[in-house]
Amino acid sequence: MSKKITSTCFVRFEKDLCAGRGTCLPVCPTKAIRMKDKKAVWIVEQCIGCGECIRVCRERAVSAASETPEVLNENHIAIALVSPVLYAQFPGVMPKDVLLGLRQMGFQHTIDMSYFLEIFQYATEEFIRRNRKSGQAPWPLISPVCPVVVRLIAFKFPSLLPNVLPVLRPVALMAREVRRRLITEYLDNGQEVVLYYINPCPTKKDPSCLPPRSRPAPAEVSLGINDIYPQLIKHVEQIKAADAIPFYQTRFEYETCATGNASMWGMSGGEIADMDIDRSLAVSGMEETIHYLEKIEMGLFQDIEYIEFRTCREGCLGGVLNAIDKYLAKSAVQKMIKQFGLGKRLHRDNILRMYEKGEFQTDKDPSKLTSLFGARKKALTIENMQKIEKVLQLIKGTDCTACGAPDCRTFAEDVVRGEANLNDCMYILDK
């Protein structure tokens, strides 16, 4: 039997706020939510952190398992790891001014993730170029950038795990750089360091859900963009009104600036737009993502080399923890690109030298992912399947969700697994 508690590693649930309307049931792509006694309940190990339940809950009973920025204080070195989606929340404001605002909020360092997205882009191009000859991985390769997509594959499409590009994700490259070079001095001096991930979605796991680390490591906190927005916009407005504010002295390029390419990353298609690959696709939205993965599993799209998937519509700009509407944000990005153009900061040659040394390949075994997110419920036997068919014949099959399951098929499965009672079905009761 699966364990049922009220919060997962990705979302926090406040039972008292739940009105029991059940709007979250059918939107969950892994069918991880049930209604018990008119309140939502999560099957914790089935949550992949997509945030769709947060999106539809009018009562705001579901939120990200992130923390509020009040934890910022002077006792530790606070480092902001910034998703480029943040810049799009401030139309007409330069990315560097957004980073400056974060400094004024109390972050000692601001790390622009798009710098590492550029590294990732070069490494991806190189992997694809080599794969044309070696055939090491099957086509189409699937972008590993959206972690929800990777978990969805591990959970629902394990046969496609070999298609996931085995290059370290930008966020992993960023965290590695920060650990290797930026914070060592502080740690050597015995200072406490906290890494704050500023994200458009609830997909970063609550650290308490992670296995304990063998080496001492800085604490990690996840913040939603909407968590810091109210405070940050005050600083940004002031900076905008001021004539010229010199930026803080920084040691590394990724602490200050961002390029046109950076803001583009938040849009669907932003990852592949400036990549040197002929045959690539960008797909966004949960439904479309699932549909395309189904098609790949049936052998389609083998003539495509790379597919960028984002489970949020319009890409990360559509993330559920953003502060402004995705279409407004998109328009802001487009204006920014029109004004300042696109551009990269890094040189391909430098990245290729690092590629030679194996700096970007993941050593993660995809089958481990399956055990994290794939292995959950006991497999159904032929007898189970026959019983499910019988239950389905008894009930009406309108997917009314009154029983507390997201659809009739899931309800029938729950009944056969002994996790639900046939009499929970309204139609059976009426008879």
Binding site: F157, M298, G299
Partner: protein, 146 residues
């Protein structure tokens, strides 16, 4: 031996919903936790055969049969049948028309792909009596796998 059988309808020339029957088969096999590689092979065969019915055949059904040793994927339609099965089994041979090719189909790999991905394949297509393709997939470590 216990056995499970499920059938799904396929409508000829319905390109928009083409693939749905195979997706249903995929989902059924996934809930029974078969080896992902086996599911992939069945999925590819299911889709190829479903597309054949959509493009060339009449209305039909795709059915999956599961027992302890094997999976049987069977596709039956009431179309015109396959004129020359031996020719159709050759890679690259296709009777697709321009419309099909414009949609990206008709590479002549349908039957060869099905043969490659299944353990046994049987095709019956008497003239004007429809077509039946039956593919067997042995379940690894349970049945014969050669």
């Amino acid at each position: 031996m216990s056995r499970l059988k499920k059938s799904f309808h396929i409508k000829a020339r319905d390109f928009i919903r083409a693939g749905e029957a195979s997706i249903n088969v995929q989902n059924l096999l996934k809930s029974m936790d078969f080896d992902p590689r086996l599911i992939r092979r069945v999925a590819i065969c299911g889709y190829e055969s479903e597309m054949n019915v959509v493009m060339h055949g009449g209305d039909g059904t795709l059915s999956i049969e599961v027992d302890d040793e094997k999976l049987i994927l069977k596709i039956v339609d009431d179309g015109p049948g396959i004129q020359d099965i031996e020719l159709a089994m050759q890679a690259g041979y296709s009777t697709a028309n321009d419309d099909h090719r414009e949609m990206g189909f008709g590479a002549g790999m349908g039957l060869p792909n099905m043969k490659k991905n299944s353990d046994r394949i049987q095709i019956d297509s008497p003239k004007n009596q429809g077509t039946m393709v039956r593919m067997v997939f042995f379940i690894p470590e349970k049945g014969i796998t050669n």
